[in-house]
């Protein structure tokens, strides 16, 4: 589903954010992307959803390939990816339901299908009772659930999450993480960038660790000791 093939990414100033990164993510897998701040986790995700283009090497996602992807293809790629962030990125002047429906509206979904699809995912994330609440009337954990519902409403085969629990307390973190695992159990591949090692240790999920742009550990390969996790 996702394949990085000797991918490097350098920014104008010369410092490289990623250096010869190669890995694959299989269908339905749950992958943690770990590493210190500045290690390159966000850059990996941005390459997956076509926000950035590799300096060298290539990235294959769901049949699309970077850097050859055209401007026209990017929206088609993104409709097949769910993406959530640390800061939720909800529209404050719309209710939870409207925020989720927004993703359907702007991708030209059939209007009559919107209410049922919206309420289905709101139920899935456990917010069926808060459909009409505005973001500022919801807790952080609930806001992240709305964002996850929005990411899921187009039924993507892959969900990308960049520090989804970064702004949440212990309890909310556990809840959101459990939700992501449930989603993964339903067959959706999840790639989650995090530096919350407690979460990583709790599970036996695959972990890819980055350091200064290089993959220093990939549990699928079991080549190096679990540095940084010890």
């Amino acid at each position: 589903m996702i394949r990085f093939n000797h991918v490097s990414k350098a920014f104008a100033k010369g410092e490289s954010a990623l250096l010869d990164v190669s890995f694959r993510v299989a269908k339905g897998e749950f992958v943690f992307l770990t590493g210190h701040s500045g290690a390159g986790k966000t850059t990996v995700l941005k390459l997956i959803y076509g926000e950035q283009s590799p300096t060298s090497g290539d990235v294959h996602v769901l049949g699309f390939s970077l850097p050859n992807i055209t401007a026209r293809e990017i929206p088609r790629l993104r409709r097949r990816l769910g993406i959530v962030f640390q800061d939720f990125r909800l529209l404050e002047d719309r209710t939870a339901e409207e925020n989720v429906a927004f993703a359907l509206e702007v991708t030209r979904a059939r209007p009559e299908s919107i209410p049922s699809r919206t309420s289905r995912v709101m139920t899935q994330v456990g917010l069926a009772s808060k459909m009409h609440a505005f973001p500022n009337e919801l807790s952080g954990g609930e806001q992240q659930r709305v964002a996850i519902a929005r990411a899921l409403v187009l039924d993507p085969p892959i969900l990308l999450a960049d520090e989804p629990t970064g702004n949440l307390d212990e309890r909310a973190t556990r809840g959101v993480f459990q939700l992501l695992r449930d989603i993964n159990a339903g067959g959706t591949a999840v790639v989650m960038a995090t530096h919350d090692l407690n979460l990583v240790r709790q599970t036996t999920n695959r972990t890819i660790e980055l350091r200064r742009g290089e993959v220093v550990y990939d549990s699928a390969e079991e080549t190096a000791p679990r540095e940084g996790l010890a």
Partner: protein, 288 residues
């Protein structure tokens, strides 16, 4: 499609002040262009009136037989530039002079001999009243042996010509300048709307909305503003036209734009609105 309109009108409701500003600046720009255009149109109308009086007078040598003159007149009428040729004999020249030039009436009355020569009066066709064609015709006239002198008020024609050219040029320059200003102002106001909605646009891109879809409401918004601005400007120009016409009764022959010209003006407003929003949305989408 319904969503498109909803978004465009929402943009108006979200930023009523900015939207009003855009519409009035478009209206003002078109108003200035239109006002100048109206002046130019009226000037052209007035010039056309003057031009019909452009004529060439060829004085005939004393004693030329009438036959020669009639033959030559036929010849001259077949010049491509010539509209009509009239013959004025010595007597009618005198009578005309006495009638038109009151100061000389007494002087002429006492004359024993008629000092005025006969002449041919040549009027030119509408497209041939510029200085160049007039000179060309005059030159050809001079080649006739019996023609003594040709008068055509060269300077006057040239000045008329220059005036018209200057009017056209000034109109074009002012029009272009205002069009540029209008595009910049619309671009800026739409850009402010775009920035206000930057978050929304970012989310749209994230979930996979196409650039065309994102652009749509902004383009529609620009076009609607252009349309409203165009209509408003016509109202303003018409008001100005009526006001000016009423207070200066001596300019009773003023004309207003015709429907096709008004439509072109409105289309121009729409184009300005579209152009302005295209520039600012395009830039935003490229930069994010």
């Amino acid at each position: 499609m319904r969503l498109l309109f909803r978004e465009a009108f929402l943009a108006f409701r979200r930023a009523p002040l900015l939207s009003t500003l855009s519409i009035t600046t478009i209206a003002f720009s078109l108003f200035a262009v239109g006002l100048f255009g109206l002046v130019a149109i009226n000037m052209r109308q007035a010039l056309r009136g003057l031009e019909t009086r452009v004529e060439i007078v060829a004085f005939i040598l004393n004693g030329t037989p009438l036959e020669t003159i009639t033959l030559a007149a036929d010849d001259i009428s077949s010049f491509p530039e010539v509209f009509s040729v009239g013959y004025v004999n010595e007597d009618s020249a005198l009578a005309q002079a006495q009638a038109e030039l009151e100061e000389f009436r007494d002087a002429y009355r006492d004359l024993e001999v008629n000092p005025l020569p006969a002449s041919l009066e040549i009027r030119l066709k509408e497209g041939s009243r510029d200085a160049e064609s007039v000179s060309a015709v005059a030159e050809r006239l001079e080649s006739f042996g019996f023609i003594d002198d040709v008068r055509f008020g060269r300077e006057w024609i040239e000045r008329l010509d220059r005036l018209r050219n200057v009017a056209g040029l000034v109109g074009l320059v002012i029009g272009l300048a205002f069009a540029v200003v209008a595009v910049i102002i619309i671009g800026t106001t739409i850009r402010m709307t775009v920035l206000q909605r930057a978050r929304e646009i970012a989310i749209m891109r994230l979930v996979g909305a196409t650039n065309g879809f994102i652009r749509g409401p902004f383009l529609l918004e620009g076009a609607i503003k252009g349309l409203l601005g165009g209509l408003l400007s016509i109202l303003l120009i018409y008001a100005g036209y009526r006001l000016f016409g009423r207070n200066t009764p001596m300019l009773s022959g003023l004309v207003f734009f015709e429907t096709p010209q008004l439509l072109v003006g409105i289309l121009f407003g729409v184009a300005l609105g579209l152009g302005g929003s295209l520039v600012s949305v395009g830039r935003h989408l490229r930069n994010v």
